[in-house]
Subunit: 379 residues, 2 copies
DNA sequence: TTGAAAGCGCTACCAA
DNA sequence: TTGGTAGCGCTTTCAA
């Protein structure tokens, strides 16, 4: 896989980096310091240059009272000349904060590419954090064991001041851990009894809108392809679908379990075609599932949307580029991320902010949903 | 947008967080400490509990010599009983490291969702970092100004030990900055004269493969829709395309500038249709562009792939779910991320590792490329 | 208004 | 083999 280029290959071909033993989380710093960096100016340098005490420099630069305006100005210019900026390490030490928050995404490295929620959610988080000089520490875990371990490490080593709980599971082991350690945390779309502040975007209205419309279009057999039952939001969407079906007087008895991936949606094709009576419309738990299913159905020879109406959930960009373009429910991952970060920072600041509800996602009509074909009706 | 839920809304409705003034990067810590957390055990607690000196505890836990096996064991169990784990803050202070590395992605918050490189690249980075107790500090900048600022902040506040330079620009202002400050950095697919160690995946072989095949299929008018000219990899792909065209004896004179987005690809439709002679095949700078173009062409009434062959670059997952499924060149963002992180950690450790070349991406044939239609030939 | 000094948690050095 | 201590960069407290 890797082919070292000749370029820098010199006699210093490093010995296999055995400078870092440690199996138990402890490290050895006996190795040489990192490549000679230009030593950044410290507050001591500033104080010396301005001819004042360190404490005065600190007070002056932080806008604290107790420094005359003239000395403050002298200190300021000394700092400017030295290009001084306080070291986060020093601040962290005394503030007992790291000024960063953590997000652990549990996803297979190979699947993460195609996950659109991810990017927008993080974008929203950053939107808030960047205004507060906080940084996001992002971790990716392959499986559940690794995910718990990453949270443990995050908490134990005090690497972050707070944690985002996304894609919450039915009995989420992270919650107890964070609760017990009293780690500031915020959840997205959790159950009602969630112990931390949370940001929610209700799936119910959008799904009701969709199901109502499908019923109005003449569909009577509407199936649901659900997501991984491990997650809370899987059940939230199932429930919303069932409620909506009941509301329009249709039986909600056709449900197929999948896993939120395009591959899973494609794999569900056979089960969909085996359903009796064959549904004329399918509500998929997310857009990727819908995209996979559309592919599978087309490969099986169905003409979409005429032979079957398909709807997704999420409103990812790519949905408008497939054929038929995907009818879906538009969610707001960016807004969720933005608000979640805002709440988390408030919790870190010691307050207990109220939950936030994001405007529910609305139905986004495109081409994959059409009236039920009357020809098929005559079964 | 946000509707506070009644749930926790109590009298403590926080005053608008004015505890954090600061315009100039300095902070005020006079506010109350974060919500009472269970104070984590420190090494002092461990030493006291084991009845030894702090230095002995440190030596014992870090596997340093100079501690008898019995006391080492006593210290170990004391640490275990207390659930002790060294604080990253303390370690950072003395090690002069933060044990995290930085990546700043410049992307509009709204566009980031659909960027597939992003996720896989980060997945690869994490793959390496997680083995070394390093964390990734991810930042997102909306525009170039913000991106430079984030790098400056990262460097000045010493928030990270090293930085990834991705999507390198033609005259990338970050390079000088990082070079001057001697910040450990690693680049992905930079120019040959790039001053830091780099990971490269050559685009040339895949593009040559594609162009050769197109020529063999009878295509004589092959256009290229390029990416944002600001980026190095845009020019790398243009050059590879030109070289490949020359090699098969075709003129490389039809090039349309776009921006790597699906929207941009769609917008390029008119220009493509206006080209004379009309090309029978298009090589797009990336898959998203190709997907957008395919949509635009279909909307304009073309039958794909018969009326025009389209190829992309990247090999994103979703390419197999559009119609016609996308012929592309499969790149390896995850491997690039993995190797880039490996290099970066080596640089941080003080070595100067040789560049790494990833196996070039190969042509991935799907349905969007077909032989030139002879009917169209007779123009 | 200014300055000296303690202390955050840890590692490293040196003396006992 | 042990323990005491300096010091990383910063904020904060207390005296001058």
């Amino acid at each position: 896989m890797r082919v070292p280029l000749p370029k820098n290959a010199g006699p210093e071909m490093r010995a296999r980096s055995d400078a870092q033993p440690a199996r138990d989380g402890h490290r050895d710093y006996s190795f040489a310091m990192p490549t000679e960096q230009a030593r950044p100016a410290t507050i001591i340098d500033v104080a010396r240059r301005a001819g004042v005490a360190i404490s005065s420099a600190s007070a002056a630069l932080n806008g604290r009272p107790g420094v005359s305006e003239t000395t403050r100005e002298r200190i300021r210019s000394a700092a400017a000349e030295l290009g001084y900026m306080p070291s986060l390490r020093g601040r962290s030490m005394v503030a007992k904060r790291t000024f960063s928050v953590g997000l652990v995404v549990q996803r297979d490295f190979d699947v993460i590419e195609s996950d659109p929620f991810f990017g927008a959610f993080i974008g929203g988080i950053e939107e808030t954090l960047s205004q507060r000089d906080y940084a996001l520490s992002l971790q990716i875990a392959q499986d559940e064991t690794a995910m718990i371990q990453r949270h443990l490490d995050l908490v134990n080593s005090q690497r972050v001041d707070g944690i985002f709980l996304n894609e919450i599971q039915v009995h989420d082991p992270r919650v107890d851990l964070l609760l017990e350690r009293r780690i500031p945390s915020v959840g997205t779309n959790p159950d009602p009894d969630f112990p931390f502040p949370a940001v929610r975007q209700d799936a119910t209205p959008g799904i009701r809108q969709l199901v109502t419309q499908l019923a109005q279009l003449g569909h009577q057999h509407i199936a649901h392809i659900s997501g991984d039952p491990r997650f809370i939001h899987t059940h939230q969407r199932i429930r919303a679908w069932k409620d909506a079906m009941a509301q329009v007087g249709l039986p909600a008895n056709m449900i197929i379990t999948s896993d939120f991936t395009a591959h899973g949606g494609e794999a569900a094709t056979t089960q969909v075609l085996d359903l009796t009576p064959r549904p004329t419309a399918i509500f998929c738990a997310n857009d990727l599932t819908a995209i996979g299913l559309i592919n599978g159905l087309q490969a099986a020879g169905l003409q979409l949307p005429n032979d079957m109406s398909i709807a997704g959930f999420d409103g990812i960009h790519i949905g408008s580029y497939i054929r038929p373009s995907l009818t879906t429910i538009q969610t707001s991952p960016r807004a969720i991320g933005r608000e979640a970060a805002r709440l988390l920072l408030e919790i870190i600041d010691g307050t207990t902010p109220p939950d936030v509800a994001i405007q529910p996602g609305a139905l986004l009509n495109r081409a994959s949903v059409t009236p039920r074909r009357t020809t098929i009706t005559a079964t």
